[in-house]
């Protein structure tokens, strides 16, 4: 059976290129996901292990224990200069409590920089040295570790930032007491790879030198043990001694435990894996479709073999062998390519993360199995269908396409049920805000839509094909050819619909979330920027005005108005702010026209629409006052009275005044806002720390959503790519099938260009329809999804959800699909046009 299979592959290698490519892409994605996880695990292991790789045992304190200075943990493991009880256990060479103390490394006199610790010192993490330096795993690059209390070994980061070499003098400042100590640099060690210490500068001091910085009861959580006896026995004894206060492990065990517990590698695998699963599903469709075409073309050959005496089982075996072969070749290429790619990326990453490590584990074999299995399963149905044809029937000319076979009807009924039922469930739960059930309903509904694809995809293709009619014969032929084999066209487009639906859904959902960030964050921001004018006496209205004007005249600022707290509401204990209604109204979103007008009435207080009281009692420095409450149209305003109302009370301000500031461009990025705040602060001569902008939160939030969206779309792109391979494949095989007919057209006067155009338009048509239907479905699901997400959030708000359809992106998707269709058609149409009509007409 292998002989026949290999001869099939050898005689028409081109027909398999696309299937192989699809399998390769799918398995590469899956293998890549697994390799990313295994490599990330290994890298983290290396980095975490950096601190204690050379220890024989590792002691980790329980939280209760290390927070209690009286705990047995400290007695057993010891303090800096006082060895713990553990050292008396036979076989224990050294117990090394790992203390890390924050200190300030004083900057050189002439440094223009501001320190990270305080004004003139950088933060430096100081660690004690062990008795036996072999416990330290960080390599020493120059000099030695400190041998006396006046020596220090700094890490490369510190050495570079402070331009230190061995023999230099440095000054350390304590965190608790402000006294300073001078040290001589005795050596320079490598920067630790421990991810928990990344970015900080570090140094080693002798235990007695470090003691000066620790305060009375230094807290530490980890001890390293050097063992010179029987490891198991020592582990046993230490475990007993520390029972209840700390755990003891070998470093290997500790690393894997902390990895599993703390880091979400499994989550990464699940997320990447589900995208890989989508890619594999699309791959399966493409394989299935390809084999449908391949074996349809071979129906006669099978029949001939049957007539010549081959049993059905023999033919079946040869087909099985063929699919196995393809599955293995494709999967192996995919896995090898993934290994190459990830290995390359890790090498690249080592520029930034020195310990980045490539790691493979046995799970990759599952990818091979999955790749082969999917290929065989996907190819089996069409192959066995071709084999069921009786030899005589197959020898007769192939009749036109038939719709409505048994399987077809079952499929349509199932599809319709799933589509209607799933959509109903999805909508019902979405409007009740039950996201989980809505997703389930959506998935069923999508499945139904895909099953029904054979019904409506060709219709849409044919319908859109009318747009090609003005092009002439190539356009007309493209339209007619594209619906010649309904199930083939449907399957090809469906592969594309899967990817584009998900992409459009993510984009729609993401855009809607971005546009409705305010509601999602449960706050709408009436004011772009707040500044608490704490440096200014709130009673000094002239300075308040000057400062506010300085802020308002900063380029990029639209308006600014000062408000002063003049009272406290008796019910809520909230400040009542006094401000000029006209000017507050300029802070566009802060007040509506009606609110401003209402506020102008003396004796009124404007309150949030969350409150429904009609009068409000406020406590001023002069005693309580009764106010008429007017509900604002906004929910997020604080209680406000006009300056005139407040002036009548003659009350003292109750705290620092604030400035409400409106900016010209509320959509500005977080960094632009930061810059604007800096210039407002310097113009107004107040500290930048007093400014606060909800816009920064919003911008950051939107940036995060944007990044997530982009990542998800990127991951889905693989599926879309596989679908495009499928389009190219279907077209190539169809063109091959129509060689005679194409040659006839050429003989009758269709130019090479015309022939190429005919095939290209066919591909473009299928791609465009796939993308259009996908986008339509995706926007629908994205809209429903947004409703599901926002319904619980909007429940107690009067606001309604504004769904944003990402039209620009949708046009982009469809444009890309059209372009991809063109690209996919290049090879098949080129090959078709290259064939001379005479040769083509000679083929039976």
């Amino acid at each position: 059976m292998w002989k026949l299979a290999i001869s099939q592959l050898k005689s028409h290698p081109r027909r398999y290129v696309a299937v192989l490519l699809a399998i390769t892409l799918g398995t590469m994605f899956l293998a890549g996901s697994l390799l990313v996880t295994s490599s990330a695990k290994e890298t983290t292991k290396q980095m975490l292990g950096a601190t204690y790789a050379n220890a024989d045992l590792l002691i980790t304190a329980e939280q209760d224990a290390y927070l209690d200075p009286e705990s047995a943990f400290y007695d057993q493991v010891g303090w800096l200069e006082h060895p713990g009880d553990l050292e008396t256990i036979s076989g224990v060479a050294e117990v090394y409590p790992l203390l890390q103390v924050g200190t300030g490394l004083v900057l050189p006199e002439d440094s223009a920089r501001r320190g990270s610790f305080d004004a003139d010192a950088d933060f430096l993490l100081a660690t004690n040295t062990p008795d036996d330096t072999s416990l330290l795993s960080t390599p020493i690059t120059a000099g030695t570790l400190p041998r006396g209390d006046t020596e220090i070994a700094v890490d490369t980061t510190a050495a570079e930032r402070h331009e230190l070499t061995v023999g230099d003098t440095v000054t350390l400042r304590g965190l608790i007491e402000d006294d300073e100590t001078e040290f001589t640099v005795s050596g320079i060690v490598d920067t630790s790879g421990d991810p928990t210490a990344i970015g900080a500068m570090a140094a080693y001091l002798t235990p007695s030198a470090l003691a000066a910085f620790t305060g009375d009861d230094p807290i530490y959580t980890m001890g390293l043990v050097r063992v010179d006896g029987d490891l198991d026995a020592v582990l046993q004894q230490i475990t007993t001694a520390l029972s209840g206060v700390a755990t003891v492990n070998t470093p290997e065990v500790q690393i894997s435990e902390s990895l599993i517990n703390k880091l979400g590698f499994d989550a990464i695998t699940v997320v990447l894996g589900s995208f890989a699963a989508i890619a594999l599903l699309v791959m399966m469709l493409v394989i299935n479709n390809t084999f449908s075409v391949l074996v349809a073309q071979r129906t006669r050959q099978y029949a001939l073999q049957r007539v010549l005496g081959a049993t059905r089982a023999q033919i079946r075996k040869s087909v099985l062998a063929e699919t196995l072969l393809i599955g293995i070749i494709g999967s192996v290429i995919g896995i090898v390519a993934a290994i190459g790619l990830i290995f390359g990326l890790i090498i690249l990453a080592q520029r930034w993360v020195a310990r980045a490590t490539f790691a493979i584990d046995a799970t990759l074999l599952w990818v091979l199995l999955a790749g082969v299995l999917i290929t065989v399963v996907a190819a089996w149905a069409p192959a066995s269908k071709a084999m069921r044809v009786s030899p005589l029937a197959a020898m007769r000319p192939v009749p036109a396409v038939t719709v409505g076979s048994q399987a077809g009807i079952v499929r349509l009924v199932l599809g319709a049920l799933a589509l209607i039922g799933g959509t109903a469930v999805m909508l019902l739960f979405a409007f009740h805000g039950d996201i989980g059930m809505a997703i389930l309903g959506g998935a069923i509904s999508f499945l139904g839509a895909l099953l029904l694809g054979v019904l409506f995809v060709p219709a849409v293709v044919y319908g859109l094909g009318w747009a090609l009619r003005p092009i002439g014969v190539p356009g007309k032929m493209a339209q007619l050819n594209s619906v010649r084999n309904r199930s083939r066209t449907a399957a090809t487009a469906t592969a594309l619909i899967i990817g584009t639906t998900l992409v459009a859904m993510i984009l729609t959902g993401g855009r809607t979330v971005q546009e409705n960030t305010d509601q999602l964050l449960a706050t709408s921001f009436p004011v772009d920027v707040y500044a608490e004018l704490s440096d200014i006496d709130p009673a000094d209205s002239q300075r308040l005005e000057e400062t506010t004007r300085a802020v308002a005249t900063t380029p990029g600022v639209a308006a600014a108005v000062p408000l002063t707290p003049v009272a406290t509401t008796v019910d809520q204990g909230e400040h009542v702010m006094a401000g000029d209604p006209k000017r507050i109204a300029q802070i566009s979103a802060a007040l509506t026209e009606q609110d401003a007008a209402a506020l102008a009435d003396p004796g009124t207080v404007l309150v949030s629409n969350r409150y429904d009281y009609e009068t409000l009692t406020a406590q001023t420095s002069q005693g309580p006052v009764e106010l008429d409450a007017v509900q604002s149209e906004l929910s997020s305003v604080t209680a406000i009275v006009s300056t005139a109302t407040a002036a009548a009370w003659d009350a003292e301000p109750l705290g620092p005044a604030v400035a409400w500031i409106a900016v010209d461009d509320p959509e500005m990025s977080a960094t632009d806002m930061q810059d604007l705040i800096t210039s407002m602060a310097s113009n107004a001569e107040v500290s930048a720390g007093n400014f606060e902008s909800p816009l920064i939160i919003r911008a950051t939030y939107q940036q995060i959503i944007g990044t997530v969206m982009l990542t998800v779309v990127g991951l889905l792109a693989i599926s879309v790519l596989i679908a495009f391979v499928g389009v190219a494949n279907t077209l190539a095989l169809s063109a091959l099938e129509r060689t005679r007919e194409n040659s006839l057209l050429r003989a009758l006067g269709l130019t090479k260009r015309g022939l190429r155009a005919m095939l290209s338009w066919e591909a473009v048509l299928i791609c465009a329809v796939g993308a259009i239907l996908g986008c339509a479905l995706g926007m629908f699901y994205g809209w429903v999804g947004s409703v599901a997400i926002f319904t619980p959030i909007l429940e107690d708000q009067a606001d309604t959800l504004a769904v944003s359809l990402p039209w620009a992106a949708i046009i982009g998707i469809i444009g890309t699909a059209v372009l991809a269709g063109l690209i996919a058609s290049v090879a098949p149409s080129h090959r078709a046009a290259k064939l001379s009509p005479v040769e083509g007409l000679a083929t039976a």
């Binding site: 009749p399 002439g472 032929m477 007919e741 006839l744 003989a747 006067g749 269709l750 130019t751 005479v838």
Partner: protein, 248 residues
């Protein structure tokens, strides 16, 4: 050759054309220095043993294939040396084809198949001419049908209609009756003969069948890539005799 052809221009003419396939040791000379002219309005049959170069000659004359040396002219146009694009454009209006089978585009109706060369050229149909051809060929009630709904004879008639509609300089027919039963074949042959006689259509037909050749005005005999004889006003018997002579 008859005298009246000396002054009249040919519909199709070949001047010393040679065509070889393959390289060096596997080389086959399909056409060996062939010169031939076909007069307007003539119905000519090309005959010869299998492998004698009939199809090759037809393809070269029709501009479907290129010659290695020599020249081919269709009407007043020398087509040798033309680009593939120019040849394709020329074929639309100046050459008609009837093949043995698979003559029609399966996705197009009979009407659209007939109009295909005109659609490709982007020209309007001469409705009176169209109606006349349909009438003669008896395809009136079949125009909306697709090829798989037509019998083999009907399919060939559609192909004939398509070939005639553009009033080409020449219609090439490669064994047009090869796939038909003899009654249907006779019908198609009669149609071709009538087109030549009544409409003045030049027709060049490749055939193996002496009875088919008898419908033609004359027969060109081919052997080993060279023209080895002619039969004027052929009958099945004279053709058979000439062929027997060749085989000897």
């Amino acid at each position: 050759m008859t005298t009246h052809t000396i002054t009249a221009p040919s519909a199709v003419a070949a001047q010393s054309i040679t065509k070889t396939y393959g390289t060096d040791d596997t080389q086959v000379t399909a056409l060996d220095d062939v010169s031939v002219a076909f007069h307007p309005g003539d119905f000519t049959a090309i005959m010869g043993p299998s492998g004698s170069g009939k199809s090759t000659l037809m393809h070269c004359l029709a501009g479907l294939d290129t010659v290695d040396s020599g020249q081919v002219a269709i009407g007043k146009t020398v087509i040798t040396g033309m680009s593939d694009h120019q040849l394709t454009i020329l074929r639309r209006k100046h050459v008609g084809f009837i093949f043995q089978a698979f003559n029609l585009v399966p996705t197009l109706s009979a009407r659209d198949n007939i109009l295909l060369p005109l659609d490709l050229a982007g020209t309007k149909v001469d409705q009176a001419w169209f109606d006349q051809i349909i009438e003669v060929l008896g395809l009136g009630d079949r125009l909306a049908h697709h090829p798989h709904e037509l019998s083999g004879g009907q399919q060939q008639r559609v192909a004939v209609a398509r070939a005639l509609l553009t009033r080409p300089d020449v219609v090439f027919a490669d064994e047009p009756t090869g796939a038909l039963d003899s009654a249907t074949g006779t019908e198609v042959l009669q149609l071709l003969a009538r087109s030549a006689r009544d409409m003045g259509q030049t027709i060049i037909m490749v055939t193996h069948d002496p009875h088919a050749a008898a419908y033609a005005d004359n027969v060109v005999l081919l052997k080993d890539g060279a023209i080895v004889g002619r039969v004027e006003d052929p009958t099945a018997d004279t053709v058979l005799a000439a062929l027997a002579e060749l085989g000897a």
